[in-house]
């Protein structure tokens, strides 16, 4: 058990130092985990399954995400006790019950705020936030954008099924305009959010998108998120077979997906469509346009740079994704280095102690201006 005595970051810093190179002799420690202890125990998927019966609807995309997540966790070599999953309210937010770690199933929309307090005080933990489109973008929108802007060292998995499910099928902030639901029998009026655009606008340092049914891709994105120090937002297209079935069919159906999905790889030319025949290039106004890669000037075609300092490029990429899935970029849209909130907070404490010494309670209480009564 870690020492929690007001100098947790120092104690845990030592742990981190031991763990820079994984105890199991694996590759370098993921960067979000440098202060997190390394387990010496060989872990398997089974170690991260709790004894609770998983109770999502049959066919729910959440099963696939949970399975991919549990299978990925052993890679991190994080002791189970140092793994914390915080969630809000919604179907996705039940996930913490199914993982044998520390878990906090909180209240609607507040998971990023709660996780921020935990991350700011416990840099020795690997903290994952599980949320949905209603939880993160509607009732909890404020907490999401501020956690991203602060760059708190948490990984946010946003299960986007474009519908409210726990409340039985109202439209969500990501539902397409005109959506007919119980609460909008004449069609919804609101323009939807694009979660990736929103996150980029909120100064997120890591933004990615993946799909529940593509386990390999999902896992690669989780891996990249864990290797990012700071806040990571991962939008996961997640199918709800009950209230919004096949919402993502254009990007999952083998007959259409290759035309729609734009798989982003850092440093690689962006190609999609039949036999990779399509490419992207910047228009005069800064937006990206779909061009025939076979005829276009090679040098004008886009090569993906996830580390571009200016988020305008990632934003332009994110705008390709319209609610009808004309194009849907997946992968890591943006991943840039920026000090994390918890690191900066702990640094201020360390500097204050270095300059002024440890706090002296008696001196604090006495203050400067006293008098004596005898």
């Amino acid at each position: 058990m870690p020492e929690i005595n007001g100098s947790a970051h120092e104690v845990n810093g030592t742990n981190g130092a031991n763990g820079v190179n994984g105890a199991n002799g694996a590759g370098p420690r993921p960067r979000s985990l440098t202060l997190v202890p390394v387990t010496s125990v060989k872990q398997t998927t089974k170690d991260f399954k709790s004894d609770q019966e998983v109770r999502w609807c049959p066919g729910c995309g959440d099963y696939a995400i949970l399975a991919a997540f549990q299978a990925f966790l052993p890679e991190l070599q994080v002791p189970r006790e140092n793994l914390v999953i915080v969630s809000g309210i919604g179907c996705s937010s039940r996930l913490p019950y199914y993982v044998d770690s520390y878990g906090l199933h909180s209240i609607h929309g507040r998971a990023p705020a709660i996780a921020t307090g935990l991350a700011a005080t416990r840099p020795d933990l690997s903290i994952w936030v599980i949320t949905g489109d209603g939880d993160a973008l509607s009732i909890g929108g404020n907490h999401l954008i501020h956690a991203l802007r602060r760059n708190v060292n948490i990984k946010i998995l946003l299960f986007n099924n474009r519908i409210y499910v726990l409340t039985k099928g109202q439209y969500s902030p990501t539902s397409e305009q005109g959506k007919v639901t119980k609460s909008t029998p004449f069609g919804s009026l609101d323009t939807p959010f694009n979660p990736v655009s929103l996150a980029l606008g909120a100064e997120a340092s890591f933004v990615a998108r993946t799909i529940d049914s593509d386990r390999k891709h999902l896992t690669s994105v989780l891996r990249a998120a864990a290797d990012h120090k700071g806040a990571a937002l991962i939008e996961i297209y997640q199918n709800c077979p009950i209230f919004n079935d096949d919402a993502f069919l254009p990007v999952t159906d083998p007959s259409t997906r290759d035309d729609r999905l734009i798989r982003l790889e850092h440093g690689q030319p962006v190609r999609f469509g039949p036999a990779g025949s399509r490419g992207l290039r910047f228009s005069r106004y800064g937006s990206l346009e779909d061009v025939d890669a076979t005829t276009a000037d090679e040098s004008s075609l886009l090569v993906h740079d996830a580390h571009a300092a200016d988020p305008s490029y990632a934003f332009a990429l994110s705008r390709l994704d319209t609610s009808d899935f004309a194009h849907s970029p997946i992968g890591i849209l943006r991943s840039v280095e920026r000090p994390s909130y918890d690191d900066l907070m702990n640094e201020q404490i360390a500097v204050a102690r270095e300059r002024q010494g440890e706090g002296d309670l008696a001196a604090l209480l006495a203050g400067g201006d006293t008098w004596h009564v005898s």
Binding site: G103, L104, T370
Partner: protein
């Protein structure tokens, strides 16, 4: 029949008022004799043809009365202090000095306090530079009150404070506008002289405050000194007051402290005493922001402060920190309390320690942010969905905020519960001398809790199993198992939990049990807080005045007035509002009448009536201002008269 007690007095309106006032006080005493008022004419009354200065001798208004006393024509006389000779006639003595009707004698009003609240005859300092035609028109005055005699009831000191300040700062390299800004320091210097206050503290304060701006610092100090010197050199003030050191202070080292500073220090102390790092999640709001400011200074104590994006995030982050083993705190005022309610409910459900400081202000809604009120009591007690009990405690004075914070931490940590501290704007910004506590006198909070470790409570099965809601039989607190502790991995949340195991449960009987257990845990704290102490010095009181929170000062002053006038009244003050002290019902029933003054419409009274079926009498004023002692004394007197 005994001889009446004769009071000799002049027949002037003031003298007669004084004499009748004393007559009333004497009559209120048990077994008081009859009282007669005897009118005596003095030389000063008779010789109206000559100005006083032309008369020979002295004591023109008292000599004849002294003679009557010496001749036993009267038994006592009542004089204004100003009329008394410096030497008392042999054979006579100054038997008693009455307490002043109202201690306030100066008005420094930014807003709210009215001139009408100032006793007549008090000193009134006006900055004539501001009484321009333009300003007078702005406030709708037809004529200048400094000149039209409308302030004749006061000792008016009309001084060109702004121009004097500017003149005093002539040697400084600064604009006239900047120089004008130092006029408050000039005024402070003048007041410091008037009240004989030492100036070192102020000078030192200015030196520290403007350490990085030496010019501003020097100018402010110069203005302060100029004000002081003006008071000393000129003769606009007929009197100079000396504030005597309070003689009822216990020995020790003292400092001045505001409620918000004391609360901040209490939280830091609680962190040190518990060995837990302090985390504050807070959104700025008047009048609570100063706690965020204060705590943000003390990083070397390992204090982490987060200025959150909103009130909900502030409490959410504090709860997250508490989940991780920190001392989680959030600070706010009424509107923020509304927003935090859901998260406080989560803290009740997951049973984690959390401190919520509500610095109450006038509501509803935005209300009057800078004005004080006690209107959040019922919200603190009940303002959440479901049966959602929390501990609630209220400091009674600015300095008391320190111990209240430590006590809040003790209860939160020991019982794993949210604790609401109900301070208010009056305490937050009010300051008072505080005897700095010895560290050894503070409670060791390490002994009040421990983090769960290992499998402390084997389950029913063969495998030892961690049960996150298996309670301590004494405190009913659940184990606080923080992340990082191997083997205690568990999942908790706002959904109802099975007793013991903490897994999701919709079982009806389990829910009923959990609802009762959560309440029983809070109720059980009553055994841990000590009984309510009643101040009833002569044991004859039939009336108890019961207060809570910041009304302590005014209730105490009112009670002292009653007692000085010979009346009997008991006083008690509640620090713990949830749970209430175990002996409260007994205390309430042992008095004929219980008066509950509150700066709300009777919130504690509602609770007391509901809990104890005692017909308490409410006295309520919701003006955004503290009670006045004289006002409360009148109310108490009335209740005594009807008891």
């Amino acid at each position: 029949m005994t001889r009446p007690l004769r009071i000799g007095t002049r027949a002037s309106a003031l003298a007669l008022w004084q004499a009748h006032h004393v007559e009333g006080l004497i009559k209120a005493l048990p077994g008081a004799p009859r009282v007669e008022i005897v009118h005596i004419k003095t030389e000063g009354d008779l010789r109206t043809d000559v100005p006083l200065w032309a008369l020979k001798g002295k004591a023109f208004f008292t000599k004849e009365i002294d003679r009557a006393l010496l001749a036993s024509d009267v038994d006592l006389a009542v004089h204004s202090l100003k009329d008394l000779s410096t030497l008392i006639e042999p054979g006579l003595e100054l038997a008693a000095t009455l307490t002043r009707e109202d201690p306030r004698d100066a008005l420094l009003s930014r807003n709210g306090e009215r001139l009408a609240d100032l006793p007549r005859g008090a000193d009134l300092i006006a900055n004539t530079d501001e009484f321009t035609k333009r300003n007078l028109t702005k406030v709708g005055y037809a004529s200048n009150p400094l000149e039209d005699g409308s302030l004749s009831a006061y000792q008016l000191h009309a001084l060109p404070i702004t121009s004097m300040t500017v003149k005093a700062l002539e040697g400084f390299e600064m604009s006239r506008k900047d120089a004008e800004r130092a006029k408050n320091m000039f005024s402070l210097g003048l007041l410091s002289w008037l009240y004989n206050r030492p100036s070192e503290g102020t000078v030192k304060f200015l030196e520290t405050k403007f350490a990085s701006k030496p010019d501003i610092m020097k100018a402010n100090i110069a203005a302060f000194r100029a004000g002081w010197n003006f008071g000393e050199t000129t003769e606009v003030f007929s009197v100079q007051y000396e504030v005597k050191p309070a003689d009822d202070l216990a020995p020790g080292t003292y400092r001045n402290i505001t409620g918000n500073s004391a609360l901040s220090y209490g939280l830091i102390a609680a962190s040190q005493l518990s060995g837990l790092p302090l985390f504050l999640g807070s959104y700025p709001i008047t009048p609570a922001s100063d706690i965020l400011h204060e705590l943000s200074k003390h990083k070397r104590f390992g204090v982490r402060t987060m200025q959150a994006e909103d009130e909900i995030s502030g409490v959410g982050a504090a709860l997250g920190a508490a989940f991780g083993g920190s001392l989680g705190v959030t600070t706010t005022s009424g509107p923020g309390m509304c927003l935090k309610a859901e998260t406080v409910g989560l803290a009740v459900s997951v049973e984690l320690p959390l401190i919520i400081c509500d610095i109450q202000r006038a509501g509803p809604s935005t209300g009057m942010p800078t004005k004080t009120e006690q209107t959040d009591l019922l919200m603190a007690l009940y303002g959440r969905n479901g049966e959602s009990p929390v501990a609630v405690i209220a400091p009674s004075t600015p300095a008391d905020c320190f111990r209240t914070a430590v006590e809040a931490a003790r209860i939160a940590l020991k019982y794993r519960t949210p604790v609401v501290i109900l301070s208010d704007g009056y305490l937050a910004n009010g300051s008072e001398p505080w005897r700095i506590p010895e560290l050894s006198s503070l409670p060791d909070l390490r002994g009040e809790f421990s983090f769960a470790q290992g499998h402390e409570w084997p389950g029913a099965g063969e495998q030892p199993e961690f049960l996150p809601f298996k309670r301590d039989p004494q405190t009913l607190a659940r184990p606080w198992a923080i992340p990082g502790t191997p083997g205690l991995e568990h999942r908790i949340g706002g959904i109802e939990k099975a007793d013991g195991a903490g897994t999701i449960s919709y079982d009806p009987d389990n829910h009923d049990l959990m609802v009762r257990l959560r309440q029983a845990k809070i109720d059980g704290i009553a055994a841990d807080i000590g009984p309510l102490e009643v101040d009833d010095p002569d044991g004859r009181a039939k009336v108890l005045v019961l207060g809570w929170g910041s009304t302590f000062g005014s209730i105490g002053a009112a009670v002292r007035r009653i007692r000085l006038a010979g009346g009997s009244v008991a006083q008690a003050h509640l620090r713990h509002l949830s749970p209430l002290p175990a002996n409260l019902g007994e205390v309430l029933r042992s008095y004929d009448k219980v008066l509950v003054p509150e700066i709300n419409l009777g919130q504690l009274a509602l609770v007391l009536r509901g809990r104890f079926l005692v017909d308490v009498i409410s006295y309520n004023r919701v003006r955004g201002l503290p009670f006045r002692a004289a006002e409360l004394a009148g109310v108490i007197q009335e209740v005594i008269a009807n008891a």
